[in-house]
């Protein structure tokens, strides 16, 4: 199946906020240099917590930069990060939404797993620990899951279809696929899409501790000594438009968003299924018109948990057959941690970087081969190689899978 050029979707802007600070290019540089961003946990209640490490946005990063002073009190951290990433992406795209009514035809679709978690946590503390009888009057507008999408819409006057997409750790990829479909269907001319997550709160950390999936040393995807995931946070926002439109206005195309695949395991609420993941990868290839052998790199979900990494390896083998042994597969979560609903967004920056520069970012901390994880994970050092097409995998609790297929810009 091939898609007509007016319905081919390209990416013309990207922005990121993450454990490196601000900027998609800065994040990509860190990833290709194999520089980890997992650090000692910074939290006022850190002493009481079992969790000692995380991949947090650095304390010195100015998340308020560029945000209108009167808007700031309305924002949870999750929206501040989304606005920062959106500003960078929109700036790079060169689009002016006031021109020719473009704002009316621009969609905003932003994924997040939990939304304004620190607001929820703080206000609950006031109520239950301090016996306050009032919460802050902006509690609802800060914590609602659609706040990041709405704030982007308001900041740039974007009046097209605008909403949040929630599918836990696959939220970004589901949002991006939805955004691409809107452009293909003609429902929008431009889409601002991506994901954001800021959930390193006391209550969320306690909840993750109780699930017993957090690593206490670092994130070691596909390594036999892997001990779990490391929580991260951040946001990534992208500008999508049709290839025809981008070419007509002479925009710099970062990559083609060639296809997407989505599926549900319909089995266990947390244990992943190879079949569900394989189905999503196959659909992404089919929609993009790619054969398995056209793909050079898979940015894996690669959480560093016992279950994900072995199952994902099996799924990649099922989807790619013999070509699986010629693929480069890496998990950049080994460096930027697991930003949950935003993880697909940080990983999309890596996928675009790989296509554009012909460099596959490494899997760090993989020091003990696991017989159940037998692909080429590009351990330790980035690899320069031609990268024609990439899959980016996201699999979520709840058994939800969303995979993006990207092709190098024409």
């Amino acid at each position: 199946m091939t898609i007509a050029s007016d319905r081919r979707v390209v990416i013309t802007g990207m922005g990121a906020v993450g454990p490196h600070g601000l900027g998609a290019e800065a994040l990509w540089r860190r990833l290709r240099e194999g520089r980890g961003m997992i650090a000692p946990l910074r939290h006022p209640d850190g002493e009481r917590l079992r969790t000692k490490i995380a991949a947090q946005v650095p304390a010195e990063t100015d998340l308020a930069a560029g945000i209108d002073e009167r808007t700031l009190p309305l924002l949870d951290r999750v929206s501040m990060m989304a606005l920062g990433a959106a500003r960078e992406a929109i700036g790079q795209s060169g689009l002016d939404f006031t021109n020719d009514g473009l704002g009316l035809r621009t969609a905003v679709i932003i994924g997040s797993g939990v939304g304004g978690d620190s607001t929820h946590d703080e206000q609950s503390r006031r109520l239950y620990a301090e016996n306050a009888t009032r919460t802050h009057p902006f509690t609802i507008v800060r914590l609602m899951l659609n706040a990041p999408a709405s704030q982007i819409s308001i900041a740039w006057g974007l009046r097209g279809p605008t909403f949040a997409v929630a599918s836990a750790c696959a939220s970004t990829n589901h949002a991006v696929i939805q955004a691409a479909q809107m452009i293909r269907s003609g429902m929008a001319d431009v889409a601002i899409t991506g994901g954001t997550e800021a959930c390193i709160s006391y209550s969320a950390l306690r909840a993750w501790e109780a699930m017993r999936v957090l690593a206490d040393d670092t994130c070691r995807p596909f390594s036999a000594n892997r001990r779990g995931l490391v929580l991260g946070e951040g946001a990534g926002v992208f500008v999508l438009e049709s290839m025809e439109r981008a070419q007509a206005r002479g925009a710099i195309i970062l990559a083609e968003l060639a296809g997407g695949g989505m599926s549900a395991d319909a089995s266990d609420i947390v244990m992943p299924s190879a079949e569900g993941a394989t189905t999503a990868m196959r659909q992404a290839l089919a929609e993009a018109g790619l054969d398995p052998q056209d793909v050079d790199y898979v940015n894996a979900h690669g959480t560093g948990t016992a279950a994900n990494d072995a199952t994902e390896t099996r799924a990649i083998r099922l989807a790619f057959g013999e070509h699986a042994d010629r693929l480069a597969v890496s998990s950049t979560k080994s460096m930027h941690g697991h930003a949950l609903g935003a993880s697909g967004a940080l990983e999309l920056v890596a996928a675009i970087g790989a296509l554009r520069d012909g460099v596959v970012p490494p899997t760090m901390n993989l020091d003990q081969p696991d017989p159940q994880c037998d692909l080429d994970y590009v351990p330790g050092t980035a690899r320069e190689m031609p990268v024609r097409a990439v899959l980016s995998n996201s699999f979520a609790f709840g058994g939800l899978n969303a995979v993006l297929a990207l092709r190098r810009a024409p």
Binding site: R50, A210, M211, L214, R227, D268, I269, V270
Partner: protein, 91 residues
């Protein structure tokens, strides 16, 4: 005392597995008893709450496959550590 810890752990497991406590044997694994995935985590949570202890994180990956006796041993060790740390009452 040890028997009583074992008995209490077995009862928590039997409740989770919806089995009669007599079917829980020291050499059973949680997997044998049909306790899988999130139920394992919930069982460990129930045990921690019941004894007011924290079971070590690193053994988690094996709770599923190891015998019920090893879980009892881990509980006993956590109780001993708590007692050694001083007054267990306000731990």
């Amino acid at each position: 005392m040890t028997d009583s810890v074992q008995q209490q752990v077995f009862e928590i497991i039997a409740k989770q597995a919806k089995l009669d406590v007599s079917s829980v044997q020291p050499e059973s694994t949680l997997k044998d008893l049909g306790v899988a995935s999130l139920e394992v985590i919930e069982t460990i949570f129930d045990i921690e709450e019941h004894f007011d202890i924290t079971l070590p994180e690193q053994e988690n990956a094996d709770f599923n496959a190891e015998t019920v006796q090893s879980l009892v041993d881990a509980v006993q060790k956590a109780l001993d550590d708590k007692a050694a740390a001083g007054n267990g009452n306000d731990a």
